[in-house]
Amino acid sequence: MRKLFIILSSLFITTGLNAETLRILAEAGDEATLTRAAEQFEQANPGVTVEASYLGWDDFMATIKLKLSDNNPPDLAHGNQGFTVDGTLIQNGLVIPLDKYADQYGWKKSFADGALAEFSWSKDGSTWGSGTLYGISPVAEDVIVYYNKSKLSALGLSVPTNFAEFENALATAKNAGELPIMLGGADGWPIIHVWGIIEGAFVDPEQTRSWIFNASGNRYDTPSRIKAASKLEEMVKAGYFGSDSLGIGYDDANAMFADGEGVFNLTGTWATAQLNEGMGDNVGAFAMPRSSSGVAGGGSFALPWHISSKSSNPDLAAKFIAHLMSTEFVDDLMEVGRVPAQSPTIDPTSNLQAEVIAASNALVGSNAKTFYTDWATPGMYDTVTQELQKLLGGAASAQDFIDAMAAESKN
C-alpha cells in the first residue's frame, strides 16, 4: 500500500511539475515554421511537449470558431483578422488579451506605434483598430509585384519607379504580344490583391485602413477610390489581364507564370518560395510605386496567434509565442522562406527573397500596407470577389463596383 502510494505520488509530481503539453491548432501554411519552432522550444523547455495539428485554409476558417468554443480547445491557435473570426472570438470571450505578455516580452517595442492595430480590439470585440491587444504574429505578408526579368529586359524596360511607368510597361508588353499581367481570377480572392495594389496607387493608405477598421463609419466612394476603380476597368478593357483570367485558378496562374507566361504577377509574398523554385534568378519583385510618390500595396501581418481562454497554462502558450517573436527566431523564419516582420541578421537565402524583403521594407517604411479589402465586414469577402469578377469579366462598370462596395460597407 505504502509502495503504491509512493509510485502514485511520484507520478503525480512528475506530471504536475515537468510534463506539460502545449496543444496548437494552425493553418497549414505555418507547418514548416512550427515544426522548427516546436523542436527548439521542446529543447529549451525540458518536459514540455508541443502537439501541433494543421488544417488547410478553407477547413481552418470554417471550423476555428467551433474548435475554440469546444470544452477542450487547443491552447494556442491561429485566428484571422477582421470581424468574421477575430471579432467573433473576442465577442464570445474565447481568447484572452495579450497586453500583459506583450509588456513582459517587449512585443510592442519591436514595432512602430499603431503597427499592431490590426490585432487590437475593444474589450467587447465591437470595435477594431485600437484598444487591447488580442493577437500577434512574427511574419509579414505583403502584396507586391513579381516580374519575369528576362521578359522585362527583352521589352527594353526597367523596373517602374512610378505608376505611369508601370502602365507604360503594360502597354509595351501588350503591343509586343506578351500577356502583361498573369492573374488567376477563377478563385476570386487573388483579384482582391490586384485591387489592393491599384487602390493603393491612388488612395491614401490611411484612408483605406480607416475604412477597413470601420466600414460603416467611413465613406467608401471617395473620388480617389473611384479613380482607382476606373483605372482597373481601363486596364481590363486594354486587355492587360488577357481574356482568360476568370478561367484560371490561383495555383495554375503561378505555375503558368513560372513557366514563362506573363510579364507581371501581382500577388502576396507567400508565393516567394514557389516562384523562386520555379524561376530561380529570372524572377524579381518590387513594391508597386504610387501615382504620386512612395509605394503601396495590400498586406498585413500573417494570421494572428491567440491564446484560448480555456487554456490550462496560458503562460506557457505565451512563452511559445515569445519564442516565435524572438530575435533569434527571425533567421529561422528566413530559412523557411517567410518574410519576418522584424529585421533578420542573416543574408537572404535567394536573390528573390532579397528583393521581396526590400519591397516589404519599402511598404513598412512608407506606412503603406492597406490590409485586405475583405476584412471590412463579414459579407465583404463575397461582395468584393463577386464584384471584382464582374469588373474583370466586363459584366459591371467601375461605378457598379463602387456602388456595390459602398452598399456592403453599410452592412
Partner: protein, 293 residues
C-alpha cells in the same frame, strides 16, 4: 382462420425491434432537423446565444436578389441534371430494345462510370477539360474554331451551361441503367403485338417502351431533381458560384452564410426553404405522374 398465416401478434414488444433504428433516426435526422428549424427563426453567429427574430431571416432571403436569382439558376440546372439525362437515357434504352450489340455489358459499364466517380474527382477533371488551354479548347482550335474557344467556367454567359453539362454527363448513366432494367420487365408480347400491328421504331417506343417505363421515369425525376436543387460539391469545386454570381445556387449561400459570414440563423432559414422547395417539387412530380390504379 387461415392456418398458413402466422397469427398476428398482439404484443407491442415487436415495436422494440424498431427502437434502435428509431433512436438513430431521432438523433441524426429529427433532432438536427428541428434544431435547424428553430435556428432559422434566430440570429446566431455559430457560437454564443441565439436571439429570436421570428420570420426576419425568411423575409430577408426572399427580398435578397442574389438569393432569388440563385434559385433561378437551380431551375436551369434541373434541365441539365434531370431532363437531359432522362431523354438521353430513354433514347439509349429505346435503341437497346431493337438493336443487339456485342459486348453491351462493357458499353453499359463505361457509360455508367461517371455515376460512380466522386463529384470532387468529376469537378477537378472537368475544370481541366474546360480550362483556357484545356482539351476542349485545344480541340476547337484544331478545327479552326478559335472564335468559339474561351475560358468556359470563367465566362458570364457559359459558366452555368458548362456546369450543367457536367451534371448531364454524371447523371445520364444512372437514368440509362434504370431504364434498361425497366425495359426488361416489359412483357415481350407487347413488342410482338406492336410488330404484328406494323408499328415502326417510333410507334413502338411511344406506345410500348415509354408507357412501360413510367415508374422508372418518376424515380429518375425524383432522384435527379433533388440532386439538381441540393447540389453543392460540383459548383463548389468548379466555379465556387462565379464568375460574379453567375453560377450561384442556394446551397452555396447556405455554406457561405454559415461558415464565412457568421449568419447561421439566416443559413438555416435558407436550408429550410430549400428543403420545402424540394419537398414541394417532388410531391408535385409524384402526384402528377402517379400510376392510376
Amino acid at each position: 382462420m387461415n392456418p398458413l398465416r402466422p397469427r398476428k401478434s398482439r404484443h407491442n414488444s415487436n415495436y422494440l425491434y424498431l427502437l434502435p433504428a428509431f433512436i438513430f433516426y431521432i438523433l441524426f435526422i429529427l433532432y438536427p432537423l428541428s434544431d435547424t428549424v428553430y435556428t432559422s427563426f434566430t440570429q446566431w453567429s455559430g457560437i454564443g446565444e441565439k436571439t429570436w427574430v421570428g420570420l426576419e431571416n425568411y423575409k430577408n432571403n426572399l427580398s435578397d436578389k442574389k438569393i432569388t436569382s440563385s434559385i433561378k439558376h437551380s431551375f436551369i440546372l434541373i434541365i441539365f441534371y434531370s431532363f437531359f439525362p432522362i431523354i438521353i437515357g430513354l433514347g439509349i434504352a429505346g435503341m437497346m430494345v431493337r438493336i443487339k450489340v456485342k459486348g453491351m455489358a462493357i458499353y453499359r459499364a463505361i457509360l455508367f462510370l461517371p455515376q460512380i466517380l466522386s463529384m470532387i474527382v468529376v469537378g477537378i477533371a472537368w475544370r481541366w477539360i474546360y480550362a483556357p488551354k484545356g482539351p476542349l479548347n485545344s480541340g476547337l482550335d484544331f478545327f479552326g474554331l478559335n472564335d468559339i474557344s474561351r475560358a468556359w467556367l470563367g465566362s458570364f454567359d457559359f459558366a452555368l451551361i458548362a456546369v450543367g453539362l457536367i451534371g448531364t454527363w454524371v447523371m445520364f448513366g444512372f437514368t440509362m441503367i434504370l431504364f434498361i432494367a425497366g425495359v426488361q420487365k416489359i412483357p415481350k408480347e407487347l413488342y410482338d403485338a406492336a410488330k404484328v400491328d406494323g408499328a415502326g421504331a417510333f410507334a413502338e417506343f411511344f406506345n410500348v417502351t415509354l408507357p412501360g417505363l413510367k415508374g422508372e421515369i418518376v424515380v429518375a425525376l425524383v432522384f435527379t431533381v433533388t440532386l439538381a436543387l441540393r447540389n453543392f460539391d460540383l459548383i463548389y469545386i468548379t466555379t465556387g458560384g462565379g464568375p460574379g454570381t453567375s453560377t450561384m445556387i442556394p446551397s452555396m449561400f447556405i455554406y457561405k452564410k454559415a461558415f464565412q459570414m457568421n449568419q447561421v440563423g439566416s443559413a438555416s432559414s435558407l436550408g429550410v426553404m430549400l428543403t420545402l422547395l424540394i419537398f414541394t417539387l417532388i410531391s408535385l412530380i409524384i402526384i402528377t405522374l402517379r400510376e392510376k390504379r
